[in-house]
Symmetry: C2
Subunit: 437 residues, 2 copies
């Protein structure tokens, strides 16, 4: 024990001196909320109820103060209908919960340019403009945090940035849209799409226009954000063409079960062989996979690391309170001077080329020679058939049957299916789903 | 859009100015490893292979340099057999991977007192002395990070600190010991304890003396750490009396299955009604619970938040590479000036009082009146029986059977079992396991 209790050496002082945030001493972080919908009011609720040390809600912007003003918000909080005035005020952090690109993007830019920090749950904005906004934050001296933008209350983003930064993530597989998961897990139990969508809408799980969710656009935006943080590439989300879950019928769940699987909306990406591939849509997942366990509006993300293997996160991906937990956690991290672990990223193009097994469901007007015809098309692309399943009980003139094929390139399968285009026995285009293994 | 692109206001500058770590500019963080076993060599391997920006391995302490020296570590790294010299050197961060209290605790203290930061995977040290060491870090100006101390490669600690700090966690349920999970999941498939333990030992999943793992002491230390971060109380882990998994036999898996359950070593704690309760031991978990999904050496943790509901983390809880990912992630966070979100905690005593259903397995020399006798004892404590299960095929003179009871206080059940002590039909003390719901 020969080392004296010395003063920090200059080098370690550099490495460990408290950040400027600590020098705010006992003054709390002043917070303005832009938006007071489900998430905004939950954020205010948590801030008011839990009196989190170091956080002070000082302003709330809403379009109509008269309509939103509530009695449980302390009188010290200023309500305003003038977003520009809030942005120009002396708050330290802007919490942007308006969503969408406009006017939210302009507000976030203004705040970051003026050196304020921004906390947002806006996946659309971050997926499209995150790189630019982070640069703006860095040059303005503020921080941009968006833990709530993906998977709501599940700490996927802080877990990635702070806990998995030491790994090299090579694959992402996620259930990132609670609406689709609710619909598909109900369909798994036997329900039909249309009434389940209606029930999701009445429960507030789905919008009146559900396209953003069921079309895969919401999951795509979140996947693009995760790709940046996990695979360290920034991609244009619009390069990923999602397959809507509306292509799935109850017949597909019957066949999936026959194959030991169920169907979930999956957002997946990997960086195998230096190539970035991503896709979003309904896929078959093994009943024993964690992805099949998720029920209702739950979200789940599995990261596969070169060093650490698979890490699974799951929980409530949406809703006011879970999303607000992520926002308040980001605020606490700012208040304590925690800084994001910045990971260098590079721009990349996205391919849709995965080498995985596929499920192909045909709907045919049955006649001799169909299977022969299809197998020739598959053979022309050197695709091996794994299984052919045809359940009894369907009429001959509208007969669904399924083929599964061994891992093959998505593009090869697409070419094989091209050969079948226009065949008179096909009542509709074959449904081609990836199978996760 | 009336706000000009102004300079940061003084207040926002205070809130967001870069920390001193940034002022290290382009000098990387100098790192010394204390220990070069499985985890230490994995940490070195990742640092060497991934050339993480901002991290520089400069020294490695081992007891015998001649025995440990390996060719893939760059020549620039100094090997040393003198821990004190390493601690007195100009490194910024000490990575303590020796484990145990002594001499590791002394090294960590010395490093923190001299203003260095410390990254450690030492759950024993952190569970017993974490509060004191964190104070030491704060006063020395360094940081103490221990993301690797619980659940290895799964970012449970960063997820909690950075992503769930905004919630109020009210319950923790975890599978925190991979050795026990390996043994119990093999026993679930029909294997017996002794050969499975031997196989775990030959695979390196269990120590020659497995007491720390199978006795529940390892899981208890990890639970105490999670209780501090999640429930915000610091407790003496020795107040929690673990039940060893050695009390479980193949008969229990047969009866568990009959009840739709399996058995896992669970570490649980909750703060219901302001009382802190914790227990560690084999428990029955519903086959549909995420806890039943974990197989092999996997770890899993479920936090239940007042606002955000359940959040599940799972993955590889041990092993060189996964644990090293947690260590390197902590190093990256330090290099980038990220600071821990400090959560105020208070000391608390731990009770073992849960109000949950129980599984009680009796092993009797059968004769008339046993069930009547037991039910009277349970009734005296107002405990309701849920089910009585007796499978055929066992000899009358060594007959196992099971009762499950409705949720009751652990202490009431203990008193009821006390009444049966010394009964001549009991071949061994009844086995009492909590059932998770």
């Amino acid at each position: 024990m020969s080392v004296p209790e010395e003063k920090p050496s200059p080098s370690s002082e550099q490495a460990t001196a408290p950040s400027a945030l600590d020098s705010r001493a006992h003054r709390p972080l002043r917070i303005a909320l832009l938006g007071f919908g489900t998430v905004g009011s939950s954020v205010a609720r948590i801030l008011v109820e839990s009196r989190s040390e170091g956080l002070e809600l000082t302003q709330i912007y809403v379009r109509s103060v008269a309509r939103r003003h509530v009695d449980w918000v302390p009188a010290s909080v200023q309500w305003s209908e003038d977003a520009d005035a809030v942005l120009a005020s002396d708050v330290d952090v802007i919490v942007e919960l308006a969503g969408g690109i406009d006017p939210a993007g302009g507000w976030v830019r203004k705040a970051l340019k003026s050196g304020k920090s921004v906390v947002t749950a806006n996946k659309k904005l971050i997926s499209l403009q995150g790189v630019e906004l982070e640069r703006l934050a860095a040059s303005g001296g503020g921080q941009l945090k968006y833990g709530a933008a993906v998977a709501g209350g599940i700490p996927v983003i802080p877990g990635l940035e702070q806990g998995l930064a030491g790994d090299q993530i090579v694959r992402i597989e996620g259930i990132l849209n609670g609406t689709c998961n609710f619909i598909l897990s109900k369909m798994q139990e036997g329900a039909e799409y249309t009434p389940v969508l209606a029930s999701a809408q009445s429960k507030g799980y789905a919008e009146a226009d559900p396209t953003e969710d069921v079309g895969g656009f919401d999951a795509r935006a979140k996947l693009a954000i995760l790709m940046r943080l996990a695979l360290r590439v920034h991609v244009d989300p619009e390069e990923i063409a999602p397959l809507p879950i509306t292509s799935i019928t109850s017949v597909d769940f019957i066949y999936a079960r026959e194959l030991g699987c169920t169907i979930r909306q999956i957002a997946r990406a990997d960086s195998a062989g230096g190539q970035i591939a991503a896709s979003v849509g309904p896929m078959l997942v093994d009943m024993h996979s964690p992805l099949a366990w998720s029920r209702g509006t739950e979200n789940m993300v599995i990261f596969t690391g070169h060093y650490g293997g698979d890490v699974v996160f799951s929980g409530h991906g949406a809703g006011g309170h879970p999303t607000a937990v992520a926002v308040v956690s980001d605020l606490l991290a700012l208040a304590q001077g925690s800084r994001r672990v910045e990971i260098p990223t590079a721009p990349a193009h996205v391919s849709a080329e995965f080498e995985v097994p596929h499920y192909i469901r045909f709907m045919v007007n049955d006649k001799p020679g169909i299977i022969a015809n299809i197998t020739v098309a598959l053979a022309s692309e050197k695709i091996n058939i794994r299984a052919i399943v045809q359940k009894p009980g369907y009429p001959q003139h509208a007969l669904p049957f399924v083929m599964t094929v061994e891992p093959c390139k998505s593009s090869a399968l697409k070419r094989a299916m091209e050969c079948l285009r226009g065949k008179d026995y096909l009542l509709e285009e074959p449904l081609d789903l990836q199978m996760l293994e």
